[in-house]
């Protein structure tokens, strides 16, 4: 009888997890880039680096809009780094991010901060 409960609980857990993942796995990363003085950085290039167990590889890049925000799509990797660059400033430190599952939609809390030259 225990087995029925355990099996049912497992099936329920797996089913609901898959449902949640299915609804949220568009692979969108949203964030913003700021300049050292706090102003949003317009037209900065944000590059996406995918991290495997042994390497770090550059995969894609996108530009920030007029409000300093950027949207990266199509990169499902669950362990990655982002770096923002803009002419006239030092690149932001390459920070690592984690996702709970491949393609999780992320909205970054901390902005990518460019360095002062």
């Amino acid at each position: 009888m225990r087995y029925v409960w355990v099996a049912a609980a497992l099936v329920l857990l797996i089913g609901s997890c898959n449902l949640w993942v299915g609804l949220h796995d568009d692979g969108v990363v949203r964030g913003r880039v700021v300049q050292p003085d706090g102003q949003p950085a317009v037209g900065a290039t944000v590059s996406f680096w995918e991290k495997t167990l042994t390497t770090l590889e550059r995969r894609a890049a996108t530009q920030t809009g007029s409000d300093g925000r950027f949207v990266l799509t199509g990169q499902p990797a669950h362990h990655f780094a982002l770096q923002a660059e803009k002419s006239g400033f030092d690149a932001s430190p390459r920070t690592l991010y984690r996702r709970y599952f491949r393609g999780q939609n992320l909205v970054l809390d901390e902005p990518l901060r460019l360095g002062a030259r």
Binding site: Y3, H78, H79
Partner: protein
């Protein structure tokens, strides 16, 4: 019993329990926090959660593939064990010429550990072209001689009158086994299932020898190749350990009594 003595016994057993559980706690803590992989002195209590090693294991290591392989092999082994051992034990309850010699032969086979037969087993598996296959993995583990005697002891306890009545009713022999003997020997069946499942789930040497293809690896082999690949440079190794140990622990906790009874009766009978 005097309370002071009970307290002393509890204290000692508690200390021993701590010693027995420390490895689990340690690996569980590190797989969830990644704290003690590189730093020293080790933190005794978890400070910050970092559950992402499990995500690493899920995506970087074909964990599901390994589990499926292990499960397929274990299912084959358990089924074969049940069938072969029950049939053999039933044969041993009958009277026939040369029975004593066969029993002596089986008993002496118990003395030969599986590890002493890996070379001929490998050669035979190669001749049968079963290297790298689930059947080849399962074949040498298909019968544990101890289970034959466990079944035999249990079959011997069935009263002869039942069997004679079944024969008079015209049941074929194997039907007698299925409908009369097996339902009366549930503990022997449980013992066989537990022993053969544990043996095939944890078996490492045989998959190490037989498997050449990284996709056919079973769980213990997958764990050890990951270890040789990555040493302990990543917490994913410990997350992998936990994910590998979890089913075993869960199964044990669910069926604790049967487990312990099965293992000890398998050891003491015969």
């Amino acid at each position: 019993m005097r309370p002071s003595r009970a307290a002393a016994v509890h204290a000692t057993l508690g200390a021993v329990s701590v010693v027995m559980l420390v490895p689990f706690y340690w690996v569980l803590k590190t797989s969830l926090t990644g704290e003690n992989i590189f730093q020293y002195p080790p933190a005794l209590l978890p400070r910050v959660m970092h559950p992402f090693y499990y995500v690493d294991v899920w995506y970087y290591i074909p964990f599901v593939r390994y589990v499926i392989n292990s499960v397929i092999v274990s299912v084959i082994v358990v089924a074969a064990n049940l069938v072969c051992n029950a049939l053999a034990a039933y044969a041993l309850t009958l009277r026939f010429r040369g029975k004593r010699a066969i029993v002596a032969l089986l008993l002496s086979c118990m003395l030969i550990p599986f590890q002493a037969t890996i070379i001929p087993a490998y050669l035979i598996t190669k001749e049968l072209h079963l290297l790298n296959s689930h059947l080849g993995l399962a074949l040498p583990l298909c019968s544990t001689i101890v289970c034959i005697f466990v079944f035999k002891a249990s079959f011997d306890a069935v009263p002869r009158s039942l069997i004679d009545a079944a024969r008079i009713d015209g049941l074929a022999e194997w039907r007698i086994i299925r409908h009369v003997m097996l339902p009366l020997s549930t503990s022997a069946v449980a013992t066989t299932v537990i022993l053969s499942f544990i043996w095939s789930w944890n078996s490492f040497l045989w998959p190490l020898i037989v498997i050449r293809n990284p996709e056919m690896q079973t769980l213990p082999l997958g764990l050890s190749t990951f270890l040789s690949y990555m040493e302990n440079t990543t917490g994913a190794l410990y997350a992998f350990c936990i994910m590998v140990l979890a089913p075993g622990v869960a199964l044990f906790l669910l069926e604790q009594r049967r487990f312990i009874d099965g293992l000890t009766s398998g050891a003491t009978k015969g």
